[in-house]
């Protein structure tokens, strides 16, 4: 292997390694913050639930980007569309289920 080729391979390795390290660091921060918030217990329940929910969604995006390697590039379009499609189906099913069941629940009160 030529020295240049070896050099570009080493660069590519460092680039990939940094991706995993960055994903791990971001995921750790996005995990520690909501755990600390709940442990401290200073926020009101609604504020805490919203914070946990938003940070959880951001963390899922971090995992998809850095660990599952699905991003906005054309090579990953198939996986991205598949995820968006499954996510949309799930959103309809979950939102519909919660709507109906909590509606029933309030009627029974």
């Amino acid at each position: 292997m030529s020295p240049q080729k070896q050099q570009s391979r080493a660069d590519a390795y460092r680039h990939d390694l940094r991706g995993y390290q960055m994903g791990f660091a971001l995921a750790a921060i996005l995990t520690i913050v909501p755990f600390a918030l709940v442990a401290a217990g200073t926020l009101s329940m609604m504020a805490a639930l919203w914070t946990i929910g938003v940070l959880g969604l951001v963390q899922i995006c971090v995992h998809v980007r850095f660990f599952l390697h699905v991003d906005l590039s054309p090579e990953k379009r198939e996986e991205l569309y598949l995820m968006i499609f499954s996510g949309s189906l799930l959103a309809v099913m979950i939102a519909g289920m919660l709507w109906i069941l909590f509606n029933m629940y309030t009627r029974m009160m």
């Binding site: 391979r9 590519a12 390795y13 990939d16 390694l17 995993y20 994903g23 791990f24 995921a27 750790a28 995990t31 909501p34 755990f35 709940v38 442990a39 926020l43 329940m45 805490a48 639930l49 946990i52 929910g53 940070l55 959880g56 963390q59 899922i60 995992h63 998809v64 660990f67 599952l68 198939e78 996986e79 598949l82 995820m83 499609f85 499954s86 189906l89 799930l90 099913m93 979950i94 289920m97 919660l98 069941l101 909590f102 629940y105 029974m108």
Partner: protein, 208 residues
Amino acid sequence: MSVIASPPGMTLVADHAHDHDPAASALSGFWLFMMSDLVIFGLMFATYVTMLTPMSFAGGPGPKDLFDLPGAAMETAALLTSTFTFGMATLAIKYDLGVRRVMFWMVVTLALGLVFLGFEIHEFAHMFAVGAVPQRSGFLSAFFGLVPLHGAHVTAGSIWLVLMLIQIGRTGLTDIAKSRIARLALFWHFLDLIWVGIFSVVYLGGLA
């Protein structure tokens, strides 16, 4: 490959790159499996959330009586670190850093997966000891439908890791082994993604 041999819908796309790469098409197939698994998990989550009402506790213990934050934090730390160490194994394969290095990171991943399962079994044993069994209430049925389902996936992933360790120990990093490990990596990262939902909804949501 002839045009006839591929499914009719696919022939509209003039790109046969995937047809010639069995590893890539196996990975696409695995994505389909993971997304259908995601739908199962999603509906388990929805069921769990509908069971978070006092009526569904049926006078039994609720989230605040059963869950403890340090235990959930330890489980989360073990699984999150294991997803990173699997990434290291993937990089060791991608850059030909040697079969020993790949096996080292896979063993570390397996160990962290077993630590996670140990904490989870300990937690379930504690719940059973205080009478929080699945048949106690709708809430507990939903809990034991969701969280152990994830635990069963981690168990399956751990068995798969052991099998791959045996395979690459015996025959080295063959193409078929690399392709299988690539799917296992996707599976393992996917399980950590599901766990983000579990610790957010079940543990943090329940204790907030």
